[in-house]
Structure formats: structure tokens, C-alpha cells
Assembly symmetry: D2
Homo-oligomer: 207 residues x 4
């Protein structure tokens, strides 16, 4: 089982981001739960063009990223919070997955069917539940399976400015949540590898 983690920070480059630290935590527990390895991609370092198809033409970094995402069994979608919402970089990734809806097989299954999504969210002070809601919905819409308690998050006190990457120690509760989410995702992924969703008979096209 392979995992791909997408870091949707707004920051280009390689400076450590809070989202990175959260993805590392989730990755640690996914390995503990039996996955074979995790690669992480910082989306802002790739030129993902705006659009809702799987290939927006010359210079579009999405086709290569899309292939890597679909080669994995588990997706960890990581995003910072700005103004209480997920980042524009994360939003763009979801928009590009919209194309999955028209890439179904003869049983109506999108390319994400049988794959598990986790959500990892960090912010200074507020917004994690909402970001989980938005990501769960967009991901489930295009075919990902959402593990129970599959959102791992940290935020500080209202109107605060502390960053997750600067915490001396990851709080026990956050650690435990990451471990549970990883355990659930690995269990689901293992089962869906053994037995794929059957899908349904589709009407002859022409719609």
C-alpha cells in the first residue's frame, strides 16, 4: 500500500511549513499501520493550471501529479487555514479532480473509487472542522472513501498567532487523533484492495 500526501501550503520553496509537520505525523502512523511508504508533494512548487479537466495543456503540472495521486492507495490532503477556509492551492487540487466525474469505467466508478482520503489541517486559531467538511464533501463527490475520524487538525486559541511547526511538543490528543485516523485509513484501504466496489450497471451513453 502506497500513500501520497499533498501539502497545499501557499509557500513555494522548501522552508518547513506547519502543514509539513502535520503530514509527517500522519505519515508516521500510516507506516505503523502497515503502509509501505509515503511520498509528499508540495503543490505550490508545481504549476497546476486553473481548470476542471485532467490536462489543461502546455505547462500544466497536473497530469503528472494526477498519475502519482492515482498510483497511491491512500491520499492525505493537507492544507493550511486562511480566513477560516482551505487554501486556494488546495481548492485548485479539488477542482482538477472534478474531471474524475467524467472518467468513469463501465460500472460508473471514478478513478478514486477504492481509494481512501484523509484530511490534515493546520491553522493558527480556527477553521479545522469546516475545512474537513469542505474537503470530505469534494473528495467524496469524486469517489474517495472517507475514513471515520479521518480529519487530523491543530489550531490554537482564538486570534492567536502560534504556528504548529513551532510547538515544542505535539499535543497528546493530536498525536492520538493522527494515530486513529491512520489506523482507520489503512484498514479500509486493505479491505478495498481485497474487494473493490462493484459499481452499478450504467445506462448506454448518450446522456
Amino acid at each position: 500500500m502506497r500513500v501520497i500526501a499533498l501539502n497545499c501550503t501557499l509557500k513555494r520553496g522548501e522552508d518547513p511549513s506547519s502543514t509539513d509537520r502535520m503530514l509527517e505525523l500522519v505519515g508516521k502512523y500510516l507506516l505503523e499501520a502497515g503502509v509501505d511508504g509515503m511520498e509528499t508533494v508540495r503543490i505550490a512548487n508545481h504549476d497546476v493550471l486553473p481548470g476542471v479537466t485532467s490536462d489543461e495543456g502546455p505547462g500544466d503540472a497536473w497530469p503528472a501529479l494526477r498519475a502519482r495521486i492515482l498510483a497511491a492507495d491512500v491520499l492525505v490532503l493537507g492544507t493550511p487555514i486562511w480566513l477560516g477556509q482551505h487554501s486556494s492551492v488546495c481548492k485548485r487540487v479539488l477542482e482538477r479532480m472534478d474531471a474524475f466525474l467524467s472518467e468513469t469505467d463501465d460500472r460508473g466508478r471514478t478513478p478514486a473509487f477504492g481509494k481512501i482520503a484523509l484530511v490534515a489541517v493546520v491553522g493558527n486559531e480556527d477553521g479545522a472542522h469546516h475545512v474537513c467538511a469542505e474537503l470530505y464533501q469534494a473528495l467524496a463527490d469524486v469517489g474517495w472513501t472517507i475514513a471515520p475520524q479521518g480529519g487530523i487538525y491543530w489550531v490554537g486559541e482564538a486570534m492567536g498567532r502560534r504556528d504548529f511547526k513551532d510547538l515544542e511538543k505535539i499535543p497528546d490528543k493530536v498525536d492520538q487523533t493522527a494515530r486513529m485516523a491512520a489506523s482507520n485509513a489503512a484498514h479500509l484501504a486493505r479491505m478495498l484492495q481485497q474487494s473493490h466496489y462493484p459499481g452499478i450497471a450504467m445506462p448506454p451513453s448518450g446522456d
Copy 2:
């Protein structure tokens, strides 16, 4: 496998509601997908008291409903849309499930672990994706597993007043969506019956 459908219409009594019609559609396809039966409960006909515990005292209808919900393998949570949001009746059901978070077993699993949730939403004109987002998040938070494309919905044109219950024919796309959601939910439920989430080792309590 048993299914329970909760109709969170604001209307007390037995008059047909659009949410009922949607739940019937989902129920039909869950039976086709192999579940053994579905019961439907109209929450507004029960006195579910405000609160976030599993028993809010004398006159509270929740403890009995809670038992019926947890006796099922699949939950279909059905709600109308008002002002673009799920109903206050639906919101109350979710609030009462908040108690699951402190009702975990020795492996940290809530009573909803291993169970599947589908969401059924009807409105005149708008709001279905958002309601799915809100419900997915609240349900996943307390331990339900969310099937891919597990939201079945209908809305009409912007600012319209047509009701789903009055449509002459259910649109083909809605029918197909219900069938797919039911197939996915039944598949997941069957697999999780065979192999429960393992959960994680919990720290000694005292937290």
C-alpha cells in the same frame, strides 16, 4: 444487514414529505444491494431534547432512538434544506451523537465505528452540496464511515418552489446516484462486518 433512515423534516405528523420520497428511493436501492430491511423514523414526531449527552432525562426520546440507530449497520440521514442549510431537527440529531465521542471502547472506537452513513438531501433550489459537507463532517467526527458519492440529493432551479415530492418522475441522474450510493454503502457495510476497525491502544484514562 439493517438500515435505519432518519427523516429530519420540520413537519410533524404523517403527511408525505419530499425527504420521505428521497429516503424511499435510497431504501429501494439498498434492498437491491443486499440489505435485509429499512425502517424510517420521522424525528419531528419524537421529543428529542436539546443537549449533548445520550440521555437528557425524563421525556427525552433520544435514548430509544439511539438504540435503534445503533442496532442498524447503515444510517441514511435525510434532511430538507432551509436557507441553504440542514434542518434544526437534523442538527439536533447530530448534537446528540456528540456523546459518542466519550463512549469509546478500550480501543478508542465510538459506537458508530464499523457503520456506514449515507446522506439524503432535498430542497427547492439550492444547498445540497453544503448540507452533505456539514453532515459528512459531523458524522465522520463521531465515527461513521462515509461511502464514496454517499450523498443523494435533489434541488430545483434557483429561487424555485417545486417540491421533490411533486415531481412526476424522479430524474434519471438522481435515480442513478441513489443506486450508486446504495451499492457503495452496502459493500462497505458488508466488509466492515467481516473485519472491524482495529482501533488503537489507548493511554490509561485520567485525561
Copy 3:
């Protein structure tokens, strides 16, 4: 200028709630900004029936509450956060305001036109921005004017359990936010008293 504050805690009775403490803070600064007085109503102590009309019949506490709300110039809608969302009690208040949409005058203005809404939100750990979003939208839809930075909130660190009512001291930033929101709301209310929205010519009914 009069203010009405609605406390949408789930708790019936008179025990102090965190929402109360937040409403008191906002009230203090509204008085400083020139309003003449604020009354607070705990909705859970009134039997607001489910529905979307202005009078749901015998036993419905809404008609009397509705009159008090519309006698005020500024509304402070206060709610706790559960599962990252506003309370079912708050949701019910919004649903009952849905009726405003069909109670327009000959210039298409709902009963909330010319009145200002503030939002006050408290939770243990997360959800304030989202609750503000939901309340702004529902309130603006039915005709309230939303003051800039009109959401006052407090939440603690992720997965925490501290209550706003138990804080030794209200954080400076929260205090300052309340003061600004109150100043903005009082300014808008004063101006709209001097010059009401003109509304628009409405087509002859029959729609």
C-alpha cells in the same frame, strides 16, 4: 436604539453559559457606542416550534419572540459551537426567520431591512469562522445588514475543553474585537434609522 441578544445555548434554565458571557461583553460595548439598552433572551427556555412560518399555532413561543426581535434595531445572535457548527436552537431561530421572505412591503423590503445583525460565537476549540459564515448568510438572506467584522468569537486550542465562562480574564484581542463590532453596528444602525433602504418597485403579485 434598542438591542436584543438571543442566547442559543442548548442549556435550559438560568445557569451561566459561555454564550451569556460573550453577549454581556458585546452589550457593554454597544452601550458604550450609544445604544439605549439591551435585553437578552435564552431561546431554550421558550418553546419555539419547528417550522418556517411566523406562527406555528398553539403553544408556539415564536410570535412573541418575533415581535421583540423586530422591536429592536440591532440583533446579537449568540450561539455555542457543537461539532464545529451552530446549535440546533440557533438553527431553529433562523428557520423561523425564513418567513420574513414572504412578509415584504410594497418595496420588497423584509421586516429585517434597516436592522443590523451581529454574531457572537463561543466554543471550546474550533468552528467560529464557519458559524459566522452560516449566520451571516442566513441573516443577510432574510434582510439583515451585516456590519464589518461583525462576528465576535472565542475558541480555545484544538481538542481542548476550557470554557469561555471559566476564563479568568477575557483576552485583549477578544475584547477589542467586541468593541469594534459594537462600534460598527451602532454606526450602521444610526445611519439606517436616518435613511431607510429605498427598496425597489415590485411587479404586481401573482407570481
Copy 4:
């Protein structure tokens, strides 16, 4: 009074977009309500860099756009809906406005204080209320005033594919909503020009 409309379609170039058509409708009624002119900017044709400051360095189109936005009295933020949410282009615009929070004057007022925001949303089938909620919250957070019923939208029937730009005729209800929103925004803008928000005394900096 000047208006700026931002078209946050994902489509670069000049092909007509549904969002354009909606912005034209709102513009028509803003002129009727007394504003002096509206310019429209298609954001996707400008290279707005990711980030949360007012200037992200060489090649960043935001500083020039920011100046044009702040030269206007009314903002119309127009976005398509993808997966039930606002576009990544729109999200980026909001992120860049996050910088307003640290660009306050000596009375704590952000650059958006005294300015009005309207929201214009188009999608094939669902999502308008939620997008309004998200935009209202982000805009109000950074200092815009939200007019009552300030969201103008169109969506078609669930799972449909019709585009607003292809409608033979704009529905009467949509037309009326645009007219009301424009009237309300112009009234508020006029009043706030006459009498600016007073703001509050700020603590000496050092925070």
C-alpha cells in the same frame, strides 16, 4: 461612486463566461441605483501569486489590482461554483485581502472599511448559498460591509449542465434579486461616504 467587479472564472482569455453575464446584470442595476460606472476584471488573466501579503514580489499582479479594488466604493465579487464551492481564483483573491487585517489605521479600520461588497454566483446546479456564506464571512472579516440580500445567484436543477450564459432569458426572480441587491448596496455606499465608521481607540502597538 465607483464599482469594481471581479470575475473569478477559471477560464483565461475573453470568451464569455456565465459569471460575466451575472456581473453585467448586477452592473446594470448598480448604474440604475446611481453609481457612476463599473469596471470588470477577469482575475484569471492576471498573475495573482499565492500568499497573504499585499505584495508577493516580482511578477505579482495583486498590487495593481489591489489599488483598483480600493479605489472603488462597491465590490462585486463574482465566482462560478465547482464541486459546490467558490473557485480557487476567488479563494486566492480573498487570501490576498487577508493582508488588510494588518493594514489598519489609528482607529483600527482596515482599507475595506466604509466599502460595500456584493456577491454574484453562478453554477449549473447547486452551491450558491454556501458560496455566499463563505464570501460574506471572508469579506466581513477583512472589513467589507455586507448589504442585505447582497448575494445574487443562479443555479439550475440538480445534476444539470445548463449554463447561465446560455439561458434565453434571465429569470424574473434573478433579475429582481439583482435589482434589490444593487439598490441596497448603493444606499449603504452613499451613507458610508457621508459618514465613515468611527473605528475605536487602539491600544499602543507592541502586540
